[in-house]
């Protein structure tokens, strides 16, 4: 029996890339730093949470979206100072300190026995960033293996894939394949290693359903995205 290999056009793949761009942009912004007032306002006004992709495929993503919507039904951090401050504090308290950091945002803390930052784990990630010409905006100020930066890295690799797809160049297909594989490996070797533990810490310590929901989206979007990347790598991609 002959198996027909499925095929996908670069143009169709771009649909997926844009969905990923949208999701990773949300995730990186909410995990890289305290939410900015401006972004939160836009996030609410444009009802961006409703557009979060793969809700139909994942019950957990639906749960995460619901938590955030429930929160936004009661609180409006875009408009009300106190709500914004509490949301801001939720991030500060969990990820920055100065008290006990309730949900350490660094991979090192979860994967290293010694829990030290700026060691090999940080440097491995730094070297990957460097490979694509990136470095942490606050080099040596923030450890490179911060969850926000790792998500930002996926965002940027996806952007590179979008650029390749839109360039229609002769090497576009190769570039996209390579970038997809790199993203898959990065999720497997880094994010998958600590996101579940981090997310459970956030679930335990977050004051707001907003961050609890966002944590669920983080974990289950990564799981979904791994499946997406696997599929994309198994399907033959063609240029029209």
């Amino acid at each position: 029996m002959e198996v027909t290999k499925q095929m996908i056009t670069v143009e169709d793949a771009l649909e997926i890339f844009h969905a990923r761009e949208f999701a990773y942009d949300i995730l990186r912004r909410f995990f890289i730093e305290e939410p900015s007032r401006e972004y939160v306002k836009l996030f609410i006004q444009r009802n961006m949470i409703d557009l979060f992709p793969f809700q139909e495929e994942s019950e957990e993503i639906r749960t995460g979206v619901k938590k955030i919507k429930d929160y936004l039904a009661v609180y409006n951090p875009g408009m009300i100072d106190q709500h914004y401050e509490n949301l801001h504090w939720d991030y500060t308290k969990m990820f920055i300190g100065p008290f006990e950091i309730l949900a350490s945002p660094w991979e090192s803390v979860y994967v290293r026995k010694d829990k030290l930052l700026f060691q090999q784990t940080t440097m491995d990630v730094r070297n990957l960033y460097k490979k694509y010409g990136f470095q942490a905006g606050e080099l040596n100020i923030e450890a490179d293996d911060h969850i926000g930066l790792e998500i930002d890295f996926l965002y940027h690799l996806n952007q590179l894939a979008i650029e390749s797809a839109e360039s229609q160049s002769a090497t576009a297909l190769q570039e996209i394949q390579y970038l997809l594989r790199e993203q898959k490996l990065f999720i497997e070797n880094h994010l998958a290693e600590f996101v579940p533990a981090l997310v459970s810490k956030i679930g335990e310590h977050a004051d707001t359903d907003f961050f609890r929901g966002m944590a669920i989206l983080l974990q289950y979007f990564l799981i979904m995205d791994s499946k997406v990347l696997n599929e994309l790598l198994n399907i033959e991609m063609i240029q029209k």
């Binding site: 499925q6 996908i8 169709d12 649909e15 997926i16 844009h18 969905a19 949208f22 942009d25 990186r28 912004r29 890289i32 401006e38 972004y39 836009l42 444009r46 961006m48 557009l51 139909e56 401050e85 801001h88 504090w89 500060t92 308290k93 920055i96 300190g97 100065p98 008290f99 006990e100 950091i101 309730l102 660094w106 090192s108 803390v109 010694d114 030290l116 930052l117 700026f118 060691q119 090999q120 440097m123 960033y129 460097k130 010409g133 470095q135 942490a136 905006g137 606050e138 040596n140 100020i141 923030e142 926000g148 930066l149 930002d152 940027h156 979904m224 499946k227 997406v228 994309l232 399907i235």
Partner: protein, 858 residues
């Protein structure tokens, strides 16, 4: 299974998603992700060598731990991957390596820990003037910029000094900020006896050395000539890591016997196989008097010469009525006090035994051993003097050495042997130079004694030493470079004081207790992140450390913060820091000196070439020294090689003892003053009057205070004595949040087996220690190696109050101390009394299982 192709079809069918995503991307693209990834700059990446072993750098090990060692780090690709210690030369007893301990080797955990304070922060409910001050220590925090942080700090300094005067600003400890505030019109400062206890002022007045700058014992190679080494409240194995224990071992190998007089059977006593004489804290004074009485009793110049009468007559004043200093009442002589001639109370071994707990027969034995052995090293740490009313102990201990003549001769010595100079006295063979920073006089003269810092805030008054009561209205606390709230006495009052004032700010690299109770915290660099510097250790060497990494997070050096704050205050920081930090480091190196071969003169330490100066980008003059600049920086240490018979040995007080008239001491009589009028007169401007001779007084919160009725020996409300040994998990309070050290050193409270049994406390049970000042919990360790009735609570644990803010779970020693000033202003941590019981609440879990931060924040 995900059907991707179907999914794409769905996406295409409902254009809503696609349009939503792309338009959202367009809309949000203009909002910056301020801490995200950026395009990598192409410069400064040329030094990486992925296949090499990396670069070893000399790293600072800068703590006040009692030692000083070589610490090196392997830097690979900008990362410190591991550490090592001294291997700059082969190790030998004469020329030992300066090897680090578990704390120095844990320093990667200190510098790179996830608990570093990364950004300036302000307390959420802070407002000008304080704003819900009662929330200090439990408020939320908000990350702020350096600019905002320094705006807040400078405007509060200005506002408070305008409103209440500059006296209302209190810069704790000493550091760069005292200089800035001095330039800004001044500030209140504090002072005290810290580690020295009563060795801080009293010894110098009577002509003996205090043991830090001025060393009163022979050098380590001469120590090998001692036949008997008495470690009186001295435990180098715990309190002076590095080479001291090794040096003592050489004396042991050379045949010395050891006696350890201590409330506990210490690790040093075990190592040196010492005879242990258990003594109660704060009663060493009584024991010394008992020994001296026994010496008088048993001495016979012909048949049993125990006392060195020749030494007493030639070198001291005040021992007997025939050798009194001019103007003193002959009845005030020490001998008649010992014999009880005028007070009808001979200070016999029996009298002493009732107080110190050492059997009279052992006291006599000690007298015979110390008196009849030719070459004795009578060595004490500062610990036994870190007591209330401690001056008399300093006088008594020194007098014992004079009485037995164990001073000024080879193998014979009496004095302080601790910290960096444990077992190794003498002038420094390598001396660091000066950095070239300037300082200005502080126009405010208010000086708070450490025992009154918190009552000054709470009660609005304090005793200005030598003058009398002054009013105080302290409204701003600036913690610059210390652990004031953690390591000064009366911590509970301290917390209250911190919640009373209008503003509190701390520099900190982790959330120290100071920082926790502040309004604003400013993150500082560790020494690994600075330009480099020099660290003094034992007399034979000097440690030089270099920059290991760039400042982490947003941390800045203390000097940089001082400069930035000065600028905000509108001051010219050039008046304090006319040069860069690099130039300051260079200056210090360039002006360092090393002893010449003749053992008398000093010559420049470092050879500096014109090329070095150019590479460093500093100003300077080339010079010839002992070691090249780069070699010194790479090596991380310069150590003078020693051997027996060299020119670098030292016999303390030798020239004086040989010819007291020709080489007088800096005392009014020119001699050792067993009767010391200076101490007595000075104490009149202090807190309690100190007698000119070492007369025994019961120590406040000492053994006698454990009784309700001393005569009938009925115990009181607080029947236990508690003291604070230094503990290898920490250096004072530093390192306490490092998990691997917590694991290695679990920090129990040490209790005698019989006390535990009597109270139904078993090994590992959580016990509550309490008195009128506070309550603290610890797991119990029951041992025969503690004096009964005495509890050892290790020093420096980071306070962690329960939710009601009543009981501390960490075993913070200062939960049990009060604001007590005695004598010349001595701080007496080792005299405290408490009660103990099995804890009926939830038992403590092991410290290593605690979250790394000290505070549970919910």
């Amino acid at each position: 299974m995900l059907d991707l192709l179907q999914k794409i079809k769905d996406f295409k069918m409902t254009r809503r998603s696609f349009i939503g995503w792309t338009s959202a991307a367009a809309a949000t693209a203009v909002i910056p992700v301020s801490r995200g990834l950026v395009a990598k700059a192409e410069t400064g990446t040329g030094t990486e060598d992925k296949n090499g072993e990396g670069i070893w750098k000399a790293a600072a090990c800068w703590h006040n731990c009692g030692g000083r060692c070589v610490n090196k780090v392997l830097v690979q690709d900008g990362v410190v991957v591991r550490q090592k210690t001294d291997d700059t030369h082969p190790d030998s007893p004469d020329f030992p390596q300066q090897r680090g301990c578990l704390r120095g080797r844990s320093q990667r955990h200190q510098v790179f820990g996830a608990d570093r304070l990364k950004y300036p922060m302000k307390r959420k409910n802070w407002a000008v003037g304080g704003g819900k001050k009662e929330l200090r220590g439990k408020d939320q925090w908000v990350r702020i910029s350096w600019d905002e942080a320094l705006d807040i700090v400078s405007s509060e300094i200005t506002r408070i000094s305008k409103k209440y005067g500059n006296e209302a600003l209190w810069a704790t400890g000493s550091g760069q900020i005292t200089k800035v505030l001095s330039l800004n019109g001044g500030c209140t400062t504090d002072y005290g006896t810290t580690s020295w206890g009563a060795w801080y002022w009293a010894p110098t007045m009577m002509g003996v050395a205090e043991g830090w700058t001025d060393l009163g014992i022979n050098d380590r190679i001469d120590l090998r000539n001692s036949q008997l080494i008495v470690l009186w409240g001295e435990n180098p194995a715990w309190s002076s890591p590095g080479s001291p224990t090794y040096n003592f071992m050489q004396a042991k190998k050379a045949g010395a016997r050891f006696i350890s007089i201590d409330p506990s059977y210490t690790e040093s006593a075990r190592t040196f196989k010492a005879d242990w004489v258990p003594v109660r804290p704060g009663t060493d004074h009584a024991l010394a008097l008992g020994i001296m009485n026994a010496l008088l009793d048993e001495d016979d110049p012909v048949t049993n010469p125990l006392i060195d009468w020749d030494f007493l007559h030639r070198c001291t004043v005040g021992f007997d009525r025939e050798h009194m200093p001019s103007g003193a009442d002959p009845k005030e002589n020490f001998k008649d006090y010992l014999l009880g001639t005028y007070d009808n109370l001979p200070k016999t071994p029996e009298w002493a035994s009732e107080i110190c707990g050492v059997e009279p027969i052992r006291i006599r034995e000690l007298a015979r051993q110390i008196g009849s052995t030719n070459r004795v090293a009578l060595l004490t740490g500062w610990g036994p003097a870190r007591i209330n009313d401690g001056e008399g102990w300093v006088q008594a201990f020194s007098t014992l050495g004079m009485m037995t003549g164990h001073m000024g001769r080879s193998g014979s010595m009496t004095g302080v042997s601790c910290h960096r100079a444990a077992g190794n006295g003498g002038p420094w063979l390598v001396k660091a130079g000066t950095d070239g920073y300037l300082s200005v006089k502080n126009p405010v003269t208010n000086l708070l004694n450490h025992n009154e810092i918190f009552t000054a805030v709470l009660d609005g008054k304090f005793h200005q030493k030598g003058e009398g009561e002054r009013k105080a209205n302290i409204q701003l606390i600036y913690h610059q470079f210390n652990a004031t709230l953690q390591t000064r006495g009366a911590m509970k009052m301290g917390i209250e004081a911190h919640r009373k004032v209008e503003f509190v700010v701390s520099h900190a690299y982790v959330l120290t207790t100071n920082a926790k109770y502040s309004d604003v915290v400013l993150p500082v660099t560790t020494e690994w992140e600075t330009e480099g510097g020099m660290l003094q250790g034992n007399r034979e060497m000097y440690i030089v450390y270099s920059n290991v990494i760039a400042p982490l997070y947003e941390a800045k050096s203390d000097v940089q913060i001082a400069k930035d704050l000065a600028a905000k205050l509108g001051l010219d920081s050039k008046l304090l820091y006319p040069i860069s930090e690099k130039q300051a480091f260079f200056n210090k190196l360039a002006t360092s000196k090393v002893i010449a071969a003749n053992g008398v003169d000093y010559e420049p330490l470092v050879t500096i070439s014109a090329k070095d100066i150019k590479e460093w980008g500093v100003t300077g003059t080339p010079q010839q020294g002992r070691i090249g600049l780069k070699e010194l920086i790479d090596q991380g240490v310069y150590q003078v090689q020693r051997k027996p018979g060299d020119n670098f040995g030292f016999i303390a007080y030798k020239s004086f003892v040989e010819n007291p008239e020709g080489n007088p001491l800096k005392t009014p009589s020119g001699k050792f003053e067993i009767h010391c009028k200076t101490i007595h007169e000075e104490s009149k401007g202090g807190w309690t009057v100190v007698d000119p001779i070492p007369k025994y007084v019961p120590k406040t919160k000492g053994y006698e205070d454990t009784f309700k009725d001393w005569e009938t020996k009925k115990k009181g409300e607080y029947p236990f004595q508690v003291y604070n040994p230094h503990y290898l998990r920490r250096s004072h309070s530093t390192f306490d949040n490092i998990q691997q050290l917590r694991e290695a050193w679990p920090n129990p409270v040490f209790i005698n087996m019989s006390d535990g049994k009597r109270l139904g406390i078993k090994e590992g049970d959580t016990v509550l220690l309490y008195n009128q000042y506070g309550k603290t919990l610890r797991p119990a360790h029951l041992t025969e190696t503690m004096t009964p009735g005495v509890i050892a609570l290790p020093h420096g644990a980071w306070v962690q109050l329960d939710e009601k803010e009543e009981v501390d779970k960490a075993g913070a020693d200062n939960m049990l101390t009060g604001p007590i000033a005695t004598g010349l202003g001595t701080s007496g941590w080792n005299t405290a009394v408490c009660n103990m019981k099995k804890w009926d609440g939830e038992p403590l879990i092991e410290d290593v299982k605690w979250d790394q931060r000290i505070i549970k924040f919910k």
